[in-house]
């Protein structure tokens, strides 16, 4: 039997990522360097090369299972940017944390490859494959500090809950398959447009929503986030808070806008509830946190809630707003984590007391990221929120936006508390920082992007990234 080789052009970025990663795993064993920095540099190089290749590799392949279009390309950019920033802030940090193993960088690469597959999958099976590739890598990453009990706990918790959510996803997928006889999202859409809405279909859809909500850490499926964020090494936390979340939104967009298009009324109603609950839980619980990483965990939950508004809008405009939002969020959140990593002790919120006296520049940068996360112009965070709100209001969900701005005002309190500690509280102990060029580069990139997008948003908005070829 002669099976023709499918067109590999659209999937070349993923192939390169995988091959390089496997090669790194092998090479790393034979190299006896003290540091593993060179691995990270190779990863960054690969990521840049892949970014360069993505626009040239558009197309559909594997019998319609794999789509590389404007939509997936944009998400892949977000993943790769967050990968590059993560590696930049990791270099010296993982040495400090005794977590410098060769597989650290490989796992980051594998996780990113998984996300890229998720963003491109037009088939639920392929989607599941990508999701598991990402998830399994992230479970190990969470526990990469082998001798740290918190890290172990984080990995175990993440793994157990993640396994549950994967099972629920599979259940949803199989029910959908049973009802529509297909796992291809376009064929599912065709089928659903003709048929009646059955209760089984709704259950299947709700199960898929639950699994995706777990990935984006949306309430009430957010319980893992604070513990995992706290336990994992900070650089990994930074990666978690951006990459997997963006990947979750990528598949939500693809699956709900195409496969379940005819059920839009139903999933919108569910997502509105989820979004409001997520914003409430994230913002209100963040207020009482005393640990910086836990606070940022709840803040990232809250941001997932804002981003969901764009999905709720149910329009291309809304989807584009979500994509822009995630890109902006990647920069500002990575920046905030870069500062946490820069400090010797940055875990406790009290550690930031009087930071402006000992390290004014660090404090000033943190101030910018905090205001950006709050959404105050002229920072990028404002543009992101504004974009989302515009899309939601245009789609007629003004009341949801009013709820969102109320929670947004609540969020100001905990971000401002960091600023308050840094600038207005007396210094308790001289904070020690570990500056290094890589971390500095990550900070500089984030800072510049926060300001550039904030002042000249035209660089990121205004393009429409269609899902279809």
């Amino acid at each position: 039997m002669n099976i023709p080789l499918p067109d590999l052009t659209p999937i070349i970025p993923e192939i390169i990522m995988s091959i390089v990663t496997c090669a790194l795993l092998t090479v790393e064993v034979f190299v006896k360097d003290k540091t593993k920095d060179f691995l990270g540099i190779i990863c960054i190089g690969t990521a840049l090369a892949v970014m360069y290749m993505i626009p040239m590799s558009q197309g559909v392949t594997f019998g319609g299972m794999f789509i590389s279009d404007g939509y997936s390309s944009y998400f892949k950019f977000i993943f790769l940017i967050s990968l590059i920033l993560t590696i930049l802030i990791s270099f010296k940090f993982i040495q400090r944390e005794d977590a410098e193993f060769g597989e650290y960088y490989s796992l980051l690469m594998f996780a990113t490859a998984g996300m890229m597959i998720m963003a491109s999958s037009a088939d639920l099976i392929l989607l599941y494959l990508g999701l598991e590739l990402m998830a399994l890598s992230t479970y190990i990453l969470a526990g990469i500090k082998r001798h740290d009990t918190r890290s172990n706990e984080a990995a175990l918790k993440y793994f157990l809950l993640g396994a549950f959510s994967s099972a629920i996803l599979l259940f949803g997928i199989s029910l959908t398959y049973g009802l529509t006889t297909s796992t291809n999202i376009y064929q599912i859409a065709e089928h659903l447009k003709q048929g009646e809405t059955s209760i089984t279909l709704l259950i299947a859809m709700i199960m898929i929503i639950c699994a995706f909500a777990f990935k984006i850490a949306s309430a009430p499926f957010h319980m893992w986030a604070p513990d995992v964020y706290q336990g994992a090494p900070t650089s990994v936390t930074a990666f978690f808070s951006v990459g997997p979340k963006a990947a979750g939104f990528a598949v939500i967009g693809r699956v709900f806008f195409i496969a379940f298009e005819s059920l839009q009324m139903d999933w919108t109603a569910i997502l509105i509830g989820l979004a409001i609950l997520t914003m409430a839980v994230g913002n209100i619980l963040a207020i009482v946190q005393t640990n910086m990483k836990r606070m940022l965990a709840y803040s990232s939950i809250a941001h997932a809630g804002y981003a969901l508004l764009g999905i709720i809008a149910g329009t291309t405009e809304g989807l584009n707003a979500v994509m822009t939002y995630l890109l902006i969020y990647a920069f500002m959140n990575m920046g905030a984590f870069a500062i946490v990593i820069l400090l010797e002790k940055g875990e406790n919120i009290k550690d930031y007391n009087g930071l402006s006296k000992s390290h004014p520049l660090v404090a000033a940068m943190m101030l910018v990221f905090m205001f950006s996360l709050t959404g105050i112009p002229p920072t990028a965070g404002f543009i992101g929120k504004f974009n989302i709100f515009m899309a939601a209001i245009n789609a007629g969900y003004t009341w949801v936006v009013v709820v969102a701005v109320c929670f947004s005002a609540i969020s100001a309190y905990y971000y401002m508390r960091i600023v308050m500690n840094m600038f207005m509280k007396p210094m308790e102990a001289e904070a020690k920082i570990y500056p290094n060029p890589a971390n500095g580069a990550a900070l500089l990139i984030s800072l510049l992007m926060v300001f550039i997008i904030g002042i000249m948003p035209s660089v990121v908005i205004g393009y429409t990234f269609q899902m279809f070829m």
Partner: protein
């Protein structure tokens, strides 16, 4: 400055005045030459006046920490240049048209139809000039008072100045909102870092109050964007007639932001804390300009965009204003803290402003705008004065003062003029503003006009009581006044005295600027109200 203690104390005021007056011709010459120069060269006035301080503010952060004097001098230079650059607005302004002048339009974010659009008319021009003037005084009054983190302090002041002017000049709603919110960042830092003992609480309270209001306005802005055919252009919005229910909703959404800033009665509680705890320069900016942004918002946006809703809601606004007038004044009587008393008097005075604005007639609105300028001058001056004496005594308790007039006669004279202007004595600027507002208020609603008058009476009560407690009576053992005002402080207060008297005797100097624009605003309200009545009649006939 050299000052003789004790034995030479009696000669000192004369010396100061004499020495200071030597500077005055130099300053007049500087401003005059600057005006001639700036009028002759062609440049985009508004952009320069906005971005010179903002860029300068960032540049000041780059000055090495040890060069404190350089930071002070740079910021003084920048505020002076910004003031000089703003003079063409005064000289070249065409008073015969209600159109926007000095306009600048560039594409900014084409995807959302957002333009970088600036312009001033008779309503906004005076605030720009007031901002540039008061900023200079904020720099000079903080010269010796701020010793910690000097460059950050002056950087913040410059950033605030630029954004405030931006708020008054923006003709694009998105741009307006950017400036409106961006100003919160330096202001939060200014109060929280250099403020009084309770500064952290005051700063976060100020921030959260303003943010909630602004975010609701943001929703309103986006809604009106879609009703204006996807445009943030304010002038285009002014020519759009929104459905009545939408007008009502949007009016209240905007009210949330503007009422907090003014502040109007139920949402005024951030103001006493923020004004009291802020450093002197912060209080001056807050009282002098920042809270005017709220009332300006009513005039620029709420009324012309939603004229029918404004007309319908005017009675509620008037009642809230009168409550603020009386409530603010009565609370002043019970204050023991110098700055807090002046802060509460702001609540009362801003009540007059909103009363005038929502009287929706020529006298009321003109009086309202004039009173905003007056309040900026007078309350700004009072906060400057309090800052000057606080630098010597380090107490704000009224009970710790007494007999200051003997030790500081020149200072006492300045304070007297500002006190009388605050009360509204004829001959000072306060009288003109309040008189016009009451005239307008009577025409709109007689009872409320009468009630508002009691505010003036109580106002005279607390201000004179304050003056008596601080400057007369026995010299308080707590008080260590040391010395009278020095040249720097004298020159800081002098321009404000000139303005108080100038506007008091010749109000037309300012009124003439706004007359045509205000007439245009009133026409807009009346015409659209007429349309509404006609529509109602048609519906009834049908």
């Amino acid at each position: 400055m050299q000052t003789g203690h004790d034995s030479h104390a009696d000669k000192q005021p004369v010396n100061t005045i004499a020495r200071t007056l030597l500077y005055v011709p130099a300053i007049i010459a500087f401003v005059y030459l600057g005006a001639i120069f700036s009028v002759q060269i062609e440049y985009p006035v508004l952009s320069w006046v906005i971005f010179l301080p903002i860029i300068g503010g960032f540049l000041i952060f780059l000055i090495p920490r040890k060069h404190e004097m350089l930071a002070r001098a740079t910021s003084l230079g920048l505020t002076l240049v910004a003031f000089i650059l703003s003079l063409p607005l005064y000289i070249n302004f065409d008073k015969t048209t209600a159109k926007m002048q000095f306009t600048e339009v560039h594409n900014w974010i084409p995807a959302w139809g957002i333009k970088y659009s600036l312009g001033v008319d008779g309503i906004s021009i005076l605030f720009v000039l007031l901002s540039t003037l008061l900023s200079i005084l904020c720099v000079t009054v903080s010269w010796t008072a701020i010793t910690e983190k000097v460059k950050e302090f002056y950087g913040s002041i410059l950033l605030i100045e630029g954004s405030m002017i931006g708020v008054f000049c923006s003709l694009d709603f998105f741009l307006f909102y950017i400036f409106w919110e961006a100003m919160l960042i330096p202001m939060y830092i200014l109060i929280g870092v250099w403020g009084g003992p309770n500064r952290v609480y005051a700063a976060i309270k100020f921030f959260l109050f303003t943010l909630v209001g602004s975010l609701l306005m943001l929703v309103g802005i986006i809604v009106s964007y879609y009703y204006t055919n996807k445009s943030f252009d304010v002038l285009q919005m002014m020519n759009t007639t929104y459905p009545y229910t939408i007008q009502l909703i949007l009016f209240w959404a905007f009210f949330a932001a503007f009422a907090v800033k003014v502040p109007m009665f139920p949402v005024h509680t951030w103001l006493p804390d923020a004004h009291t705890e802020a450093p002197t320069a912060g209080s001056v900016i807050l009282a002098g300009i920042l809270i005017k942004m709220g009332a300006y918002g009513f005039l620029r946006f709420s009324i012309p965009l939603f004229p029918e809703a404004a007309k319908a809601m005017a009675p509620i606004m008037i009642v809230l204003s009168v409550i603020a007038i009386i409530y603010g004044a009565v609370i002043c009587l019970a204050q023991t803290d110098l700055k807090r008393l002046i802060a509460y008097s702001s609540v009362s005075h801003m009540g007059f402003v909103t009363l005038g604005i929502f009287a929706l007639n020529m006298q009321g609105i003109q009086g309202g705008i004039l009173q905003m300028i007056n309040h900026g001058i007078v309350t700004g001056a009072l906060f400057l004065s309090v800052g000057i004496i606080y630098e010597r005594t380090h107490t704000r308790e009224i009970a710790h003062y007494g007999g200051a007039a003997t030790a500081m006669p020149v200072y006492a004279a300045f304070f007297m003029i500002f006190t009388l202007a605050s009360i509204g004595l004829p001959g000072t600027n306060g009288f003109i503003g309040e008189f016009l507002i009451l005239l307008g208020g009577f025409m709109a609603w007689k009872l409320m006009g009468v009630l508002a008058c009691t505010g003036i009476i109580i106002g005279a009560g607390y201000m004179l009581w304050l003056y008596q407690k601080v400057f007369f009576l026995e010299t308080n053992p707590y008080a260590h006044y040391h010395e009278d005002v020095n040249e720097r402080e004298f020159l800081t207060l002098l321009p404000l005295v000139v303005l108080v008297l100038w506007i008091g005797f010749y109000p037309n100097a300012l009124l003439s600027f706004m007359e045509v624009s205000v007439q245009g605003l009133i026409d807009r309200v009346n015409v659209s109200a007429q349309q509404q009545i006609t529509q109602n009649i048609i519906e009834v006939i049908k």
